[in-house]
Symmetry: C2
């Protein structure tokens, strides 16, 4: 992976309003040691993150990502992020991304064990080449996420709507998918409803309607999905949130996994059920997602 930039952030309180936040940033060599072994992000996955797509130096959907960062912070009892400070850090990182596709990661950790304050940093790196996934599509398998549709609402300590650094299960699900000959996974509830992919949202097409699982406390509200729904509405399509039984997946006219960096990857199969891919329509979605979006 080609790093482009890394910055440590000294988090200031929400509401600390300055002309710029340059005195709170320290640029790093991304390949050099920067974090101590006491970091709770590394000891316990105790923190939150966001991944922002960047196209030719333009960071996409920054406000939606920063809003979700603030939402995750609230669910995890972390201090409220200073949005203006994070926005300034994203802008600096984006300037260093250069041409082509890149990814900016924002990380807010609970800090060093017994330390006084959270630690925070931003990285920028060249994105992997996802052109094949976008055009030829991907295969997914459904995997049980272990909890029922009703669980997240009564068990907020499971942090199911927060984008935490505790992603070991998400990574294990991707390995399981690969073991089964697929490229990605779609999590389902133990009572058989569709949730999300480990690092993407699911969008299904039925005729001229596009649906995605209802973003209750159990899944993240996908920033790319939100942006695509706006785009689809502007093109005259209908969009909606639904509780989707997994058994209805094969009946979709088409389906995509959408995320900030891979963008829209059409599904060619879910489990053993093949799905049709509309190549030119998918290309139009990715053209939109590659255009500058705020």
């Amino acid at each position: 992976m080609a790093w482009r930039f890394a910055l440590m952030i000294d988090p200031v309180a929400s509401g600390d309003d300055r002309a710029d936040y340059l005195d709170t940033f320290t640029e790093l060599d991304p390949a050099a040691p920067a974090l101590t072994v006491g970091e709770l992000s590394t000891q316990r996955g105790d923190g939150i993150f966001e991944s922002i797509g960047v196209v030719d130096g333009h960071p996409q959907e920054v406000s939606a990502h920063l809003e979700r960062l603030a939402h995750s912070a609230q669910l995890c009892d972390l201090p409220e992020p200073n949005i203006a400070q994070w926005r300034a850090a994203v802008a600096l990182a984006a300037e260093r991304c250069g041409a082509g596709e890149a990814v900016i990661k924002l990380i807010l950790s609970r800090g060093v064990e017994h330390g006084p304050a959270p630690t925070a940093w931003v990285t920028a790196a060249e994105a992997s080449d996802f052109s094949r996934a976008r055009t030829e599509g991907i295969r997914a398998v459904t995997l049980d996420r272990g909890y029922s549709l009703a669980t997240p609402a009564h068990a907020p300590w499971l942090l199911l709507g927060a984008k935490t650094l505790s992603y070991a299960v998400n990574m294990a699900a991707l390995r399981e998918a690969k073991r089964r000959g697929a490229d990605d996974a779609i999590f389902t509830t133990s009572d058989g409803f569709v949730l999300e992919a480990p690092t993407a949202s699911l969008i299904l097409r039925r005729g001229s309607t596009f649906i995605t699982p209802a973003p209750n406390a159990g899944i993240l509200h996908g920033t790319t999905q939100l942006s695509l729904f706006e785009h689809l509405v502007s093109r005259g399509f209908t969009v909606g949130y639904e509780t989707i039984p997994a058994e209805t997946l094969p009946a979709a006219d088409a389906a995509w996994l959408v995320s900030s960096v891979r963008l829209a990857a059409p599904l060619v199969a879910i489990d053993d059920a093949p799905l049709a891919v509309d190549a030119s329509f998918t290309a139009s979605l990715n053209d939109y997602l590659l255009s500058p979006r705020d």
Copy 2:
């Protein structure tokens, strides 16, 4: 927290047998930057760990911890740890712990993103003072872990029997317990069976019998619980593993949360049900746990 020691480990293959492994160790300043921002432990909680109690320089139950590290590695598709190498690192760290109680942490991370190999390190630090929890006891609340008793066996990608670095939920459960005026939590399944605490095992006493939840794939097999069971058997008690309905918790004659560093903390209440504390018996358990054990 008073650090005592930190060591980076260059993991060698299982079976690489040497007189010592000193050439694979690099001592660190525990308070200095040591890890890069590309570390997958910090980005995704993608790795495994163990915490070993140390008393007056003697690391407790090292073999049981190393066996569990190897088991976690297998569940997480990490390379098999070289046990002799880790044992040598633990011995070095223990030498640096000095008098009193300390904790040695072993961390095996999947490595740096797109990197060639896992990263690994060991830290040693002074332990917190848990004498009050050991003598006066602690209050616990039960919290739903969200999955049913049957889930772990059919969904290994949930990594429920692995001690991963993705501990954000464990930490959130402890915060929830504190919000409710308790000191700790006891996880239960969605169908009402007792599991474990976020960082400890539960042992219940019924007359002269001591039981703990069956260590199926859903919970860790506690090293301290294993050691205490051996000790209890040597004292003529009966021990056993059971599937324990949460509703039977108040009927226990006594209960403890046991772990490698806090050792045996008697429960004075679970939810709103008070439990009797046998102070001298608990003291005898902690005397045993503070004695040198291999």
